[in-house]
C-alpha cells in the first residue's frame, strides 16, 4: 500500500472506531412467533447490544405473523432477520445470531480478519 492509502485506511478505521463510540443504533429483529430460533435470536441480540452498544441502541422486535405489514418495506427474505437501520448503511443478518463475531461484523462493529 502506498503511504497515502495506508493513512487513508487508518483514518477510515479511526472514523469507524469513533463512530462505534458515539452514534445511535436503530435495530430491528424480525422473527416468526415463539419458535426456539426466534427465542435464541432475541436472546443473542440483547446480549450483544448490552455488551457493545450499551446506552446507544434502540431494539425493536417484530413478529411477522402478528404484524405482517411492518416487514413490507424492509424486503425481508427469511426469518429471523436482524436489520441495522441506523447508522447507515443498511445491514442485514439472517439466522439465530449465535455467531457473535459475524453479527458484530454485520453491524460494522468489527473489521473482518
Amino acid at each position: 500500500m502506498k503511504e497515502e492509502e495506508s493513512s487513508a485506511t487508518t483514518r477510515r478505521f479511526e472514523q469507524l472506531a469513533n463512530q462505534g463510540d458515539t452514534s445511535q443504533y436503530l435495530l430491528k429483529l424480525y422473527v416468526t412467533g415463539m419458535t426456539p430460533r426466534s427465542q435464541r435470536a432475541i436472546e443473542n441480540i440483547r446480549v450483544i447490544c448490552e455488551e457493545h452498544l450499551k446506552g446507544r441502541y434502540s431494539l425493536e422486535i417484530v413478529d411477522i405473523y402478528q404484524h405482517p405489514t411492518l416487514a413490507e418495506g424492509e424486503q425481508i427474505i427469511a426469518a429471523p432477520t436482524l436489520i441495522k437501520q441506523l447508522p447507515e448503511p443498511l445491514r442485514r443478518i439472517v439466522g439465530d445470531l449465535s455467531d457473535t463475531e459475524r453479527v458484530l461484523f454485520g453491524l460494522d462493529l468489527r473489521e473482518r480478519h
Binding site: A71, I77, R91
Partner: protein, 557 residues
C-alpha cells in the same frame, strides 16, 4: 462522494459496500440452505406470503388443536378447507368428514341470515355474530362465531372461530329465573301485608257493631244499623276470601269448568237486574245494551256470572255518585262475543294498564281516599276468561276519565237450543216445622245456625262429630241433615251418606252437604258421595230457607 474523498477512496468505499452486500447475500443463502431459518417470505403479485418451515408453526398448531373453541377455514364456495378437531367434535363428526364438506350444513336453518351477514362483515374486518350450530345428530346449540378474512393469491379464505355458548346461556337463564323469583317473593310479601290490612279492615266495624248490639238491644233503630253494617262487612270479607281462594286455585290450574251452551244475553239480563238496586243506592245510572237475538257461548254459567259481576262491582266501586255504568254485549265478526263494562269513574293511569290484571299488584288511588281492593277480582276474571278461550282487556283515557273493561269470548256455532228457563223465584210461604240435624264441628257456627233454624220454627239437634251425628240421626230421625263434609276424623262422606240412607226411617231424609270450598269439584264429590244437595260455606240463610221450603212434605210419623 464526500468533499475530502479522492476518487480512489470513493471506489474503495463502494468496494467495501459491495463486499458487504455480497457476503450478506451469500450468508442469507447459506442460512436458508442450512435450515437456520424459521420462515421464508415470498412476494408474489404484490401479495406477501410467509412460508413457515416445519417446526416453527408447531406451537400455533398446538394452540389451535387444544383450545376450547372450534376453528375452521372456509373457501369462497363455503367448503371447509381446514378444521380443528374441537370443531369436528362440536358438530358430532370427525375431522376427516368435516373437511371438504359445506359449512352451511352445520348451521341451523334459522341461522342462515345471521351467517350471511357475518360473512359479509368479515370481508371488511373481524366480525362476530351469534348463531345456532346444528350437530350431525340433529341437535342444536347456541354459539358465537368470530369470522375474519384471509387473503391468499388463490382467493380469500374465511377464518371462523366457534365458541359454544350453551353453558353461558343456561347461566343467564338461571340468573333471570333467580331475579324473577326474587321479584315474585317481594310481590308476595307485599301482597300478604296488604291482605292482612284488608282482612283486618272489616273487623273494626264488626266489633263496633257488636258493641252497639249489646248496648242498644232495646233500640231497634240502632240494632238495625248495627246489623246492616255487620252484614255488609261480612259480605265483603266473604268476597275477599272467595277471590283469594279462586286466584290460588286458578294459578295452580285446579279449576275445572262445567260448560254448556248458554245464552249470554239472558244470563246478563238477570245479572243487571241484580245490580239495579246497588246502582240506585249509589246514585249511579246503569245502562244496559243487549242484543235482541240470543248470543250463545260454551261456558260455565256460574263462572261467567262471577266475572261480569266482578266487573260491575268494580265499576260501581270506582265511580262517584252521579256517574254512569254501562254494560253492553255485542258480536264481532261472527266469531266472538264482546261484553263491555264501561264506567265514568276514577279511570286507570297509563302505566298501570299493563299490569291491572295481575294479582299481588298494589293499587291505591291517589285521591287521598283508598277504596281498597287488591286487584284480585280482575286476576280471577282474567283467569276464568282465559280458561274459556277468551281474552280480557282494559282501556282508560286516564285518571278521572273512567275505564272500559272488555271481555271477548268465542261464540258457539249456533245450534238452536231452547233458552234455559230462569228458575222462578219462590215467594216466601209460611214455613212448615221440620226436624233438622246439624253436624258441624265449629261450635259457633253450629250454635248460630241452630238459633236461626229454631227462630224459623224448626226443631233442631246438633252433633259435633261424625259418629255422634250418626247416633243422633238414628235416635232423632231428622227430615233434613246439614252435614259439614269437611269434618275432621276418619268418617268418609260416602260412608256417612250410605249409612244414613240405609237406616230405616231415614231413607227419604234430605242430606245436605255443607262444603268448605264451594268449588265445582267439591260439589261433585258431595253428590257422588250420595248427598242430595250442597251448600257452600258460609251458608247463605236465604238459600237454606229456600231449600227447606221446597222439600216435599214427608209422611207423618
Amino acid at each position: 462522494m464526500g468533499i475530502h474523498e479522492t476518487h480512489d477512496q470513493a471506489l474503495r468505499r463502494e468496494n467495501e459496500d459491495l463486499r458487504h452486500r455480497l457476503s450478506e447475500a451469500v450468508e442469507t443463502l447459506d442460512a436458508i440452505r442450512e435450515g437456520e431459518v424459521d420462515a421464508i417470505v415470498v412476494n408474489k403479485g404484490g401479495l406477501r406470503q410467509v412460508f413457515t418451515l416445519e417446526g416453527a408453526e408447531h406451537p400455533y398448531r398446538l394452540f389451535v388443536e387444544e383450545m376450547q373453541q372450534g376453528a375452521v377455514a372456509l373457501g369462497q364456495d363455503g367448503t371447509v378447507l381446514f378444521c380443528n378437531h374441537r370443531f369436528a367434535r362440536m358438530v358430532g363428526s370427525e375431522a376427516g368428514q368435516v373437511l371438504g364438506s359445506r359449512f352451511t350444513q352445520y348451521l341451523s336453518p334459522a341461522s342462515g341470515e345471521a351467517w350471511l351477514g357475518l360473512a359479509q362483515m368479515a370481508a371488511k374486518g373481524r366480525a362476530i355474530e351469534e348463531i345456532q350450530v346444528q350437530r350431525q345428530d340433529g341437535g342444536q346449540f347456541p354459539a358465537s362465531a368470530t369470522a375474519s378474512s384471509i387473503q391468499t393469491p388463490q382467493g380469500n379464505l374465511l377464518a371462523v372461530v366457534v365458541t359454544d355458548l350453551t353453558e353461558q346461556k343456561s347461566f343467564e337463564r338461571l340468573i333471570a329465573a333467580e331475579e324473577a323469583l326474587k321479584g315474585e317473593a317481594a310481590r308476595k310479601d307485599s301482597f300478604l301485608t296488604m291482605l292482612g290490612h284488608e282482612l283486618r279492615n272489616p273487623l273494626a266495624p264488626i266489633r263496633n257493631a257488636l258493641y252497639l248490639m249489646r248496648k242498644g238491644i232495646q233500640d231497634p233503630v240502632l240494632m238495625e244499623k248495627a246489623c246492616a253494617i255487620t252484614e255488609h262487612q261480612v259480605a265483603h270479607l266473604t268476597r275477599l276470601v272467595d277471590d283469594l281462594l279462586d286466584v290460588s286455585r286458578i294459578s295452580q290450574g285446579k279449576v275445572q269448568l262445567k260448560t254448556k251452551v248458554i245464552d249470554l244475553v239472558e244470563i246478563l239480563r238477570s245479572v243487571t237486574l241484580d245490580y239495579q238496586p246497588v246502582c240506585a243506592e249509589n246514585s249511579l245510572t246503569l245502562e244496559v245494551s243487549l242484543p235482541s237475538e240470543p248470543v250463545q257461548i260454551n261456558a260455565d254459567q256460574e263462572r261467567i256470572v262471577q266475572v261480569v259481576s266482578n266487573l260491575l262491582h268494580n265499576a260501581i266501586k270506582f265511580t262517584d255518585p252521579g256517574g254512569l255504568v254501562r254494560l253492553s254485549v255485542g258480536v264481532q265478526e261472527g266469531e266472538w262475543c264482546l261484553v263491555t263494562v264501561k264506567d265514568s269513574g276514577l279511570g286507570i293511569p297509563q302505566e298501570w294498564l299493563a299490569t291491572v290484571f295481575e294479582p299481588f299488584m298494589q293499587r291505591r288511588e291517589t285521591i287521598g281516599r283508598t277504596r281498597g281492593g287488591q286487584g284480585l277480582g280482575l286476576a280471577v276474571a282474567k283467569g276464568i276468561v282465559e280458561l274459556h278461550g277468551g281474552t280480557i282487556s282494559a282501556t282508560s283515557a286516564g285518571p278521572g276519565q273512567g275505564a272500559e273493561l272488555m271481555i271477548r269470548l268465542p261464540l258457539v256455532n249456533p245450534v238452536h237450543h231452547p233458552p234455559p228457563h230462569a228458575l222462578a223465584a219462590e215467594t216466601p210461604e209460611a214455613v212448615r216445622r221440620r226436624r233438622i240435624l246439624i253436624v258441624e264441628d265449629v261450635l259457633d257456627a253450629a250454635t248460630t245456625m241452630k238459633l236461626v233454624l229454631e227462630m224459623w220454627g224448626h226443631t233442631v239437634e246438633v252433633a259435633y262429630d261424625g259418629r255422634t251425628g250418626l247416633e243422633k240421626a238414628n235416635s232423632f230421625i231428622p227430615e233434613i241433615i246439614l252435614y259439614d263434609i269437611g269434618l275432621p276424623g276418619d268418617l268418609d262422606g260416602h260412608i256417612v251418606a250410605r249409612t244414613i240412607k240405609a237406616t230405616p226411617g231415614l231413607e227419604k231424609c234430605c242430606l245436605i252437604a255443607m262444603t268448605g270450598f264451594g268449588s265445582p269439584e267439591t260439589k261433585d264429590k258431595a253428590s257422588q258421595a250420595g248427598f242430595d244437595l250442597h251448600l257452600a260455606k258460609p251458608v247463605e240463610l236465604e238459600a237454606l230457607a229456600q231449600v227447606i221450603a221446597r222439600l216435599p212434605v214427608l209422611e207423618n210419623r
